[in-house]
């Protein structure tokens, strides 16, 4: 089950904690992976960690619409084959209470976290529709459903991603292409590592499963939605949050 032999998967934000785990999991299941991110050295290190011939990387600055538009083509050039699986994982935050939030903080987060995934979906769908198969998994966040003080921009982008994915799922379902969302809760990453212990304990106390998530918890959910076995699942949001929000 869940084998991806012969498939090409593009993972954006692949040098980060969650993106790296997603790429490693898809790769372990047989996929050829194309890692995308902004930092070449980090991508190279990640690619070397995975090793072998089924790993490629492409740098892309997704805040630039032209680079987002071109990424699918570049990935296909590297892999030598069309992209079967697109995982829109790249994202950034500019947290700030709304009263102090500048237009540029709002615009940048909406652009990178919502508009650029749309551009990548649009570019990838063209070939997927022709081939009558494909998998898109968009990585949103629990805060897209619950909201979070200080993240008006980020939660709007992530909620937008869910609506976008549902619409795309309806548009392309007749061609055997699925579009789904994974919404992570609090995941242990370098970003959460630096939180004081007291705050980590408080976070954990809100999670029925009693721990923060690992990047691998997210990767497993992504793998399922990328698999042939998930062929009858589309427009869905899979919440992976330890039970913190049961939605």
């Amino acid at each position: 089950m869940f084998k991806l032999d012969g498939k090409v998967a593009l993972v954006t934000g692949a040098s980060g904690g969650i993106g790296g785990a997603i790429a490693a999991t898809l790769h372990a299941q047989g996929a050829t992976v194309v890692l995308s991110g902004t930092r070449e050295d980090a991508l190279k290190a990640q690619a070397e960690k995975l090793g072998g011939e089924r790993v490629h990387y492409v740098t892309a600055n997704l805040s630039d619409p032209a680079e987002a538009d071109a990424l699918i083509g570049k990935a296909e050039e590297k892999a030598g084959k069309p992209v079967d699986i697109l995982v829109n994982n790249a994202g950034l935050t500019r947290d700030m209470l709304a009263l102090r939030m500048k237009d540029e903080d709002w615009d940048q987060v909406l652009n990178v976290d919502l508009s650029s995934p749309f551009r990548l979906c649009r570019a990838a769908l063209k070939g997927m529709l022709r081939r009558r198969s494909g998998r898109i998994v968009n990585i949103a966040s629990v805060v897209g459903a619950t909201g979070n003080a200080g993240q008006a921009n980020y939660s709007a982008a992530k909620a937008g991603m869910v609506g976008m994915s549902k619409s795309l799922a309806q548009e392309v379902g007749s061609r055997g292409v699925t579009v789904n969302v994974v919404a992570p809760g609090f995941i242990v990453t370098p970003m959460t590592d630096v939180l004081p212990d007291a705050q980590k304990e408080k976070l954990q106390s809100q999670i029925p499963l009693g721990r923060l998530g690992k990047p691998e918890d997210i990767a497993a959910a992504v793998l399922y939605l990328c698999s042939d076995e998930a062929g009858w699942v589309t427009g869905a949001t899979l919440h992976v949050n330890g039970g913190m929000a049961m939605i």
Partner: protein
């Protein structure tokens, strides 16, 4: 038949997977050739690519038959 008509026909056959004999000038993509709305969008994009023309949305909406497509592209190419 013009070169453009030939090429349009070929694209339609290829994309919709229909018999060449069914792709008559009068054939409607949706009513006669079994296309759905997504097919018509993909066809228009295929025409744009093949003929290096831009077909704006309001023009695309009016392209219902094979002849509509041929006429539109011929007009663009003549201009």
């Amino acid at each position: 038949m013009s070169e453009i008509a030939d090429k349009v026909k070929k694209i339609v056959v290829e994309h919709l997977g229909v018999e060449e004999s069914k792709v008559t000038p009068e054939a409607s993509f949706i009513d006669d050739l079994g296309a759905d709305s997504l097919d018509t969008v993909e066809l228009v994009m295929a025409f744009e690519e093949a003929f290096n023309v831009e077909i704006p949305e309001d023009a695309a909406e009016k392209i219902a038959t094979v002849k509509d497509a041929i006429d539109y592209i011929e007009k663009q190419k003549a201009a």
